[in-house]
């Protein structure tokens, strides 16, 4: 347990040193060595779809970053992007594909890759080989082989390759892991985890009729038709299905927080609902993690044909306490078991806040005071951050380019999560337990 109270300054310092980035900051700041003569980092965004737009909003808030180009094979998305950026005073050059982007841009330092998964490896490898640093959205690829090639190219070129598991730079997640689980051992012995991301039934994505791409162009980029292009996440040669799209974030948290990879995975899933899809719409997965104190099992579910009620979270359970984490603080919670040692010192250190009840003085064994029924104490983390959810991870990437930080999710570390996620899909297909060695998960 912790002994010394920490001042606000020390509190911020320790978490920043642990990789938390800037805590409680109200403005975005980057620091360190400039990447170019004028101190700016010129960036291109490849893929102006939904995820590309999410990253864009964070990108535009980061000092010293200049978006100079966007790239998308769909003219509709490119035009939208140019128009949208112009409203925000950002003039960019727009390209149809990454080859044209690399040929046309001679003063780029970094590329953000947010196109469909099966294009991640070709785009990322080409950009790395062109001498650029790359931030690539998860999943790294829809195949293990392509994901491995990205790690190899990163090593060969010496460029940086950050994978978009943005929770790894989220100050709340970093704090919960480093301070609450590892330092304070708030959960005691971790014995289980559970995570979920369920979604309600939706229509497949459509497109404005007038904006359909011609069949030859679709074929050029690997799609059979517009439906496949707009719904690529559901097709096996293009994406990895819900376990990959949604589960990737949370299964990565299992690996990160348990500090290891699972030794086995069993799973069940199926195409239960959407007959025009190739990937499982519902999946339930159990991983076995060999921890120093014994096995911990982690259950993951992603259902896409249910109510979305309950939200998305990761829940780590131990014999003394549990932490339910979510990007949404309102869905986060911390529970203390009656057998746990007092958490009063954690409250005093500002690691936790008592939502109800609060710290109670430890009575002498022979005395007792009687009054109205006391509330059980409920706790919450005392950490928040004042930025868009993806911003700290992008800042970490740019700080690493400037030499002032270490990547929070380099491709070789992300590969281990990538591997076990692919194995969950494989376990569903095989309908049997698949065993995983640590060596397998290394690229």
């Amino acid at each position: 347990m912790v002994n010394q109270p920490v001042s606000r300054r020390e509190f911020l310092g320790t978490t920043a040193a642990a990789g938390a980035g800037l805590m409680l900051a109200t403005g975005a700041k980057v620091f360190g060595q400039p990447a170019t003569a004028n101190g700016r980092i010129n960036v291109a965004l490849v893929g102006f779809g939904a995820q590309g737009r999410v990253l864009l909003e964070s990108l535009l808030k980061i000092d010293g970053i200049r978006l100079v180009a966007i790239c998308d094979i769909w003219e509709y998305a490119r035009t939208y992007g140019e128009r949208y950026l112009k409203k925000l005073g950002v003039e960019v050059r727009a390209y149809e594909n990454y080859e044209a982007l690399l040929a046309g841009e001679k003063d780029l330092q970094a590329v953000i890759v947010a196109c469909p998964d099966f294009w991640h490896a070709p785009v990322t490898n080409a950009c790395l080989k062109a001498g650029l640093h790359v931030y690539c959205e998860k999943m790294m690829s829809n195949t293990i082989e392509d994901a491995r090639s990205m790690v190899q190219t990163m090593r060969e070129t010496g460029r940086l390759l950050q994978i978009g598991h943005q929770r790894r730079s989220n100050p709340r997640y970093v704090f919960a892991l480093n301070r609450l689980i590892r330092e304070a051992k708030l959960c005691g012995r971790l014995t289980a985890a559970q995570a979920q991301w369920n979604r309600a039934v939706t229509e497949d994505f459509g497109w404005p009729k007038k904006s359909a791409m011609p069949p030859a162009q679709l074929a050029q980029y690997g799609y059979t038709d517009m439906h496949q292009f707009r719904n690529w996440r559901w097709f096996k040669n293009l994406g990895g299905g819900p376990l990959s799209d949604l589960g990737a974030h949370q299964i990565d948290i299992f690996n990160w927080w348990f500090g290891t990879t699972p030794r086995a995975v069993l799973a069940s899933g199926g195409i239960d609902y959407y007959q025009n899809h190739e990937w499982y719409d519902n999946a339930m997965v159990i991983y076995e993690y060999p921890l120093p104190d014994g096995v911990a099992r982690a259950f993951y579910q992603v259902q896409t044909t249910t109510s979305a009620g309950g939200g998305y979270f990761e829940y780590f359970m131990g014999d003394e306490g549990s932490i339910r984490m979510s990007e949404n603080p309102a869905l986060s919670a911390i529970y203390c078991e009656a057998r746990a040692p007092s958490w009063d010192d954690l409250v005093q250190k500002n690691y936790l806040r008592a939502k109800t009840g609060g710290p109670t003085p430890t009575p002498e064994a022979t005395k007792v005071d009687v009054r109205e029924t006391a509330q059980l104490a409920e706790y919450e983390m005392s950490v928040s951050f004042n930025k868009a959810l993806h911003q700290p991870h992008l800042e970490n990437f740019f700080n690493a380019i400037r030499g002032s930080a270490k990547l929070n999710c380099p491709a070789d570390e992300a590969f281990a999560s990538e591997y076990v996620i692919h194995k969950a899909n494989a376990a569903i297909a095989a309908q049997k337990t698949i065993f995983i060695t640590t060596q397998e998960t290394q690229a």
Partner: protein, 279 residues
């Protein structure tokens, strides 16, 4: 004459139910268009909601006096409209009215268009865009529907704001009642927005930003405008304005009309023509 085929889709967003009705379109295409519109509403909620810890509205609330925050385009656009409506209604509408519950005075802020940012000048910028955000979302959804060439639509946010596109085939518009289900007063609406405000559902939740007191008006009000953000803000303002003040406000904009029902008598304030009677 047969009823026109109208496809209806529902979605939860901004703590209420959104509905998209589309006419003159094939069903699957209408469904995909509606889904794209709902996805847009979700994106807007992620930035405009004060209940999302990392939304831009929540980030703004943590600014200290003198600090600025760069805004995304929708938030900048919504706050620009909010500020314009605050001036147009002479302060009867304010996106920071709810802050008076927690602060002695309304916080002060300015938009800095050249920097696409907002600056906090004093107080805590506790925006509550409930009275304009849903309308703003409807306006953006309507843009999307038109881009997808679905021009005959009706968009509904929580029953208190609607935005009508072109009329369904063979009709004079969308048949809209003022008040509870099957209201006797009905109008054909097309290419117009209608918002209602009142205390019957949520109780005394509307504050007069000029005084911090609860809304003076006990009966419902309705406002018509060309955009739902405007009709939303206007109906909220009308809850705290007297008739002379409402006449002054609507007199400055021929696009606006406010409808009051006082003592079972309807009053129409503003230069906009009353839509044709339906029902």
């Amino acid at each position: 004459m047969s009823e026109p085929e109208i496809h209806i889709f529902n979605h939860h967003a901004m703590a209420t139910q959104f509905q998209v009705r589309i006419a003159r379109a094939e069903k699957t295409y209408a469904a995909q268009t509606a889904q794209a519109a709902f996805a847009l509403a979700d994106e807007l909620e992620a930035q405009l909601s004060r209940f999302r810890a990392n939304s831009e509205i929540s980030q703004i609330a943590r600014l200290l006096p003198g600090e600025k925050l760069r805004l995304c385009e929708p938030v900048l656009a919504c706050l620009t409209i909010a500020r314009r409506m605050e001036f147009a209604t002479r302060g009867a509408f304010s996106a920071t009215a709810a802050a008076l519950k927690n602060q002695p005075a309304k916080p002060s802020w300015v938009l800095v268009p050249a920097e696409f940012s907002i600056r906090c000048d004093s107080g805590r910028l506790e925006f509550d865009l409930g009275a304009i955000g849903k309308g703003f979302a409807l306006d953006r959804m309507a843009e999307l529907l038109r881009e997808w060439e679905c021009r005959s639509f009706l968009l509904v946010a929580g029953g208190s704001s609607i935005l009508a596109g072109e009329a369904p085939a063979g009709t004079a518009g969308w048949d809209c009642g003022l008040g509870d289900d099957s209201s006797a007063r009905r109008h054909w609406l097309a290419n117009v927005s209608l918002s209602g405000s009142g205390l019957a559902v949520k109780g005394a939740h509307i504050f007069d930003p000029r005084t911090g007191q609860s809304a003076r008006r006990q009966n419902r009000v309705w406002a018509l405008a060309s955009t739902a953000a405007e009709s939303d803000a206007l109906s909220t303002a009308a809850m705290v304005l007297d008739e002379i003040e409402i006449t002054g406000v609507t007199g400055k904009n021929p696009d606006w009309l406010v409808l009051l029902n006082e003592d079972k008598e309807w009053r129409q304030l503003g230069g906009r023509a009353v839509p044709p009677t339906a029902g």
